[in-house]
Amino acid sequence: MFDTDHDGLPAMPGVGYKPQHFNDILRDAAPVGWLEIHAENYMGDGGRPLAQLRHLSERFPISVHGVGLSIGGEDPLDPDHLARLKHLVSWLNPASFSEHLAWSTHDSQFLNDLLPLPYTDTTLIRVADHIDQVQEALGRQMLLENPSSYLAFTQSTMSETDFLRELARRTGCGLLLDVNNVFVSATNLGYSPIEYIDAYPLDRVKEIHLGGHDEDEDDHGAPLLIDSHGRAVVDPVWTLLDETLDRTGARPLLIEWDTDVPDWATLRAETVRAQEALTRVLA
């Protein structure tokens, strides 16, 4: 089995790192417990992004979060991209590496979005094989994140939670539970978010994501939530977080805010609320 510790991420709030916050983070007397970076933004040859990352990694545990590996893709994993990822993970030696249960590349076209897949025996074998390759290449355990869903596949023969449980069992990967994604998917597909959490393999959860979403409607006027990461986390998602932490205990919590990125103080206020949720469960 792979090294599953790597010191890991602390059970504290972290944020998705944005370069515009660099100075604020370094000036903050009590900044966050850790930072997440998107792997693909740090695959250039040099310059400020890598210099900032080197600097931050001396002060903060770093979580490398990939958005372009296309683990759920029908195509083989892109060997060049896997090599770039291996290079990044080798020199940075981050506290954690995670990716998505989704695909983004097909026929050499990269679509820059996390696209859905049906949950079947065929896709299970394929995704498990890709996770094996990633963990083999990186020499460490990876975490896999549950997606935000806007639709379902008639072909699916198993639930998402069963699919994730079986992937974790076969590959030894850990799971990154995004509770905003659970809330978004449950609302969009008409199931109970807490029943999803109860069916989730919670013993595999090593990190929890939180983010904001937008509200829209489908053709029938039913609510359709969009996982935009462009605003504050809403109250029902904080409640779902509390209910999740009651079941898992304290976990590393990440605030994701990727579009309409606010000033540091606003983002920092979200982490204060996340810390309150952790404090409550630790009490």
């Binding site: 693909e40 933004n41 695959m43 250039g44 040859d45 040099g46 310059g47 400020r48 992004p49 890598l50 210099a51 958005v67 372009g68 590996l69 296309s70 893709g73 029908e74 195509d75 892109d78 991209h81 770039r84 695909w103 983004s104 590349t105 097909h106 026929d107 050499s108 076209q109 990269f110 679509l111 820059n112 979005d113 696209l115 859905p116 897949l117 049906p118 869903s149 806007y150 639709l151 379902a152 596949f153 008639t154 072909q155 969009n188 597909l189 008409g190 199931y191 829209d216 489908d218 053709d219 029938h220 039913a222 359709l224 969009i226």
Partner: protein, 249 residues
Amino acid sequence: MTEQHSFRAPLLDADRAIPEGLTDGLGRPAGARYNVYRNNVAVSLTEALETGFPAIAKLIGPDNFRAVAARYLRAAPPTSPLMMHYGAGFPEFLKTVEPLAHLGYLPDVARLELALRRSFHAADHTPADPALLQDVDDDALMSCRMALAPSAHLLRSPWPIVSIWAFNMRPGSAKPQARPEDALILRAEFDPEPLVTPEGGAAFVTALIRGESFGSAMTAAGDSFDVGVMLNLLFTHRAIAGISFEDTP
């Protein structure tokens, strides 16, 4: 046709029917829910182009830019997950956009923005010490070879691309004059700076990049070339990565 091919094809083609076998989770057809993905793809790629080509967006206006981007991202979707490289074909594509044909300088300004982005992400280097050139006799100087930093780029243009770029991106910059400008992009630390290359400088830099000797680069630069000005520019921007005095090609 594979499942993911069927799912992908309509993402960038609004005329194609939504894939079959998709529901709303309650058994009804997914319908417009699929458009969430169409929208995500188009918006994220448009934003990547806006981030990469802010001067072009300023020059033609945000609405026109989004319309051009919508055509480009369908004609040339990314082939790599590294969005920092997306848009390499955008300058050439701009030449094919008929309503923009009267703005002849646009493709070259886009090339400048692309070069700035490449410079921003280029490998770091240790700058050469100008003292290496002190106490060097003329023969040794003329036969030495200078390696430019990986972040240094030269872009020749019949248009005043540096001035057009600065006028749109740096408030208070002088109005562009109708003249050709060769852009020299140098990154002293982290921020690439587009500079107007002094007369003869483009030929000089081109020769250095080719690995020609200092003397040969001087000859290429012509009689009106001021080598002192040029070297000062390169050294103050830490753009010389190495000087080799070995007499090997």
